[in-house]
Subunit: 471 residues, 2 copies
């Protein structure tokens, strides 16, 4: 009697598309766009995963637009795929069964800043950099930083995190409440603005990380943090990846409240030197950032340097100079783009495992050995304070054999992390290509429970079909 | 077509109880107990809410026991109510429709401590004090402290928090993963031990705070924190509740990483002086605790004292002496019991609202005025760093009129908090008596979504019927 995710069989029929677009256009006029260029821009464009454009794109302007769009799509049994800025690496924005992409770029307002409560309410299309520019004078900031200037709605949908999750947590920890349009076209709020609550099921956390499969996010209430009095940053070279990982582990265990601690392997350092015009020694490297008072960041830096030295690393060069610090972190954030310099014309194969800290060094080492054996060009960067790292094989898309080799590598990597008590995705989400690993990670019964949740909330399978679950 | 929570009509028939007990006894022998005394001990005993004993109690010893118990209960369509230590204040352990109480006092083992990963795996029956005694030599501790020596399973089920949530978060933030027995009698784990994951729906957070209504918790993986180098504690008197609240708000806003910040109103201070043999000035009071290095706690204390002084409070008397500190916090933890001294023979009426910090002073003041107008004896304590406070009217249970007065007061309080953007329950859970407030807090459509989740996961309504939802 178990509830099942409704199966979709293929694209909408031309007649359905025509009727859908007619109804949408009647309601939204020229804010509904069906040109091929715009449709393709709203499919996946960031990795090797194939572009799957929607049948139409709606540029939504407010909550009522989304409610009406969901109702019209439901009438035509047409899928709905929310679109922020398209920075997903896992195909989330692909319209695998056609339907409507809802573009949130015009829903990018800050609705309220409650400085006293350390929170704010925003529309989902605002990006994190735009939000932080808006907040600058308040003394507050939104700390989650996945590198890309992603939309807040997309970050909530994928349970994003990034470089300073080690200190500030992930979107799970920083979303107070969501405004959602449900499959019935109703608007709900998942929680109040209270800092904590025990009033029923945690709908907020159910929607954070649900990848657009349970409803459409139209409002996000975020926790904010005080801008630190002082920020220091620096880099520290290591003889090998193991000693860098061990240093990260000991730093966390010793309770140093590090704000960022990022691993780059030798290949990644080489790529970053070339792309970002740095002159780092070409050896495994940790990039670090500390937040606190002036004395506190100095103390944290000193303690870190001691740990690094104990593991054969160093010297740790650090600075509180904003310009130098920004150059370093810009290079880290550009590492994805820098890696393409290692193999011009290639596409990236994104991976995203996360393991318990105690297994991190072992997991990275085994993975490096696997990369070498598989004959891939695959730099490594990692949020090593959380046990999360990215290996990104660069693929010549004209070689089917090479793609298969990368796929097999990706599968071994995911299963290795799962065997070590970890996860196939620390922050990117499941999207299209990690679906096969969920059984190994969760077991069939837990996965069945997730499927039942989906079926109970979205019986038509309107919302982002083909993501998280096969459709 | 919406899924509905299955309605239960009343107690099990005598024939069903007989057949159920026979099957349970055949499997579990004398670990199934049906004596009236034991059954009543497993109903609600902490507040004015009436005791509703189960038909039988099982003293479970391992996961397999729970799986078999769930299967046997499902065959007889008998409710299942998990029981930790019975410290719930909201009737969670009451068997409103009879059935089986599963007592977890014998499932109290520590299954693993992963010191490198700052986590541990425990059975749900272990209490927080027993766990912390076990951890003492590891340099780690489990920080969540609801006052009562509650079971970890019960704390997870109610999304408990308490005095140091302001620094360490709630159970939502400190449970990494749960082992659950589902309605089908299957064992699932809700997540891996990785520090973060984007691999599908957040089942962990769905079960944290689900009050036993979605399955039975049989294993809990908890985050641990390093024992602080130095802990200081102290108390600070204020001329009125407003100045104490404003001091709490400013302390949080200024970024002081206070570990505990607790309000006691004058009546509560009087009760605590009498019960805990203290000699505090009888005026509103904040109790505080700071964690950090020796310099850091001194610095935090100094900054707090300045803020208090600016609001007319002080002097702030603080100490790093463990014995003095423990005496103060024991008094705070005993405040619930101390309050009974204000009216011997009375029962407590527990309340638990939580509002955005910016509304805290206003909410406490309005509530004090309401207490005075209603003519209740009702001391106030509060986790004011989170905007959460407890007013506990003491009720003469022989007076129906008085109980009705307290009920009307409780309703006004809940709706006041909800109107201010808060919640009717910050940490105790919904249980039986807060069900009527959920529509005002969440709206009918969000509540319908919760009901669908319940129906999808527990179609028979086996698990703790009559809690969170009417049954």
């Amino acid at each position: 009697m178990s509830l099942q995710v409704r199966r979709r069989e293929g694209p909408l029929s031309p007649e359905t598309v025509k009727a859908l677009v007619a109804d949408l256009s009647a309601r939204f006029g020229n804010r509904v766009v069906t040109s091929q260029a715009v449709r393709e821009q709203h499919g996946h464009t960031t990795t090797w995963i194939a572009n799957a454009p929607p049948d139409a794109v709606l540029f939504a302007e407010d909550r009522e637009d989304v409610i009406d769009a969901v109702r019209i799509c439901a009438q035509h049994d047409a899928p709905i795929v929310p679109f922020g800025v398209g920075s997903s690496l896992e195909g989330h924005v692909n319209a695998l069964f056609g339907g409507l992409s809802i573009d949130f770029s015009r829903m990018n307002r800050v609705l309220a800043v409650h400085a006293e409560d350390l929170d704010c309410v925003v529309e989902p299309g605002i990006t994190r950099k735009t939000l932080n520019a808006h907040l600058r004078d308040s003394g507050l900031f939104f700390p989650i930083d996945p590198g890309a200037d992603a939309s807040i709605g997309g970050m909530a949908a994928t349970r994003a995190s990034g470089t300073n999750a080690v200190r500030y947590g992930t979107m799970k920890d920083n979303v107070l409440s969501l405004g959602i349009v449900t499959a019935e076209g109703k608007f709900i709020r998942t929680a109040s603005r209270a800092k904590k609550s025990s009033a029923g099921y945690d709908l907020t956390r159910l929607y954070v990380g649900s990848e657009g499969t349970l409803g459409v996010i139209v409002e996000v209430t975020l926790k904010l943090a005080g801008i630190p009095e002082c920020i220091s940053g620096g880099h520290c070279p290591f003889p090998d990846v193991r000693s860098a990982c061990l240093t990260a582990i000991e730093t966390i265990q010793s309770g140093i409240p590090v704000a960022r601690i990022e691993l780059l392997d030798t290949l990644m350092v080489q790529a970053s030197n070339a792309y970002s015009k740095l002159t780092l020694p070409e050896t495994p490297m940790l990039f670090l950032e500390f937040h606190g008072s002036e004395e506190s960041v100095a103390e944290q830096s000193r303690r870190f340097a001691e740990i690094a030295e104990g593991n054969g690393g160093g010297p740790f060069a650090w600075t509180t100079n904003t310009e130098e610090r920004n150059k370093l972190w810009q290079a880290r954030h550009d590492s994805y783009w820098a890696s393409f310099g290692l193999r011009p014309g290639a596409k990236a194969f994104a991976t995203d495992v996360c393991v318990p800290l105690s297994r991190l060094a072992e997991c990275v080492e085994q993975t490096q050995a696997d990369v070498a054996e598989t004959g891939l060009v695959a730099p490594i960067v990692g949020h090593v304070g959380d046990g999360n790292f990215h290996v990104s094989p660069l693929i010549d898309m004209s070689s089917r054999e090479e793609l298969e080799r990368a796929n097999a590598f990706g599968e071994r990597l995911a299963l290795r992390a799962i065997r070590m008590g970890g996860t196939c995705t620390g922050e990117h989400g499941v999207g299209q290509k990690k679906i096969p690993y969920l059984v190994a990670e969760h077991g069939e019964d837990a996965l069945d429970l997730m499927r039942r949740l989906k079926a109970a909330i979205d019986p038509q399978n309107l919302f982002n079909p083909g993501k998280i679950f096969t459709a």
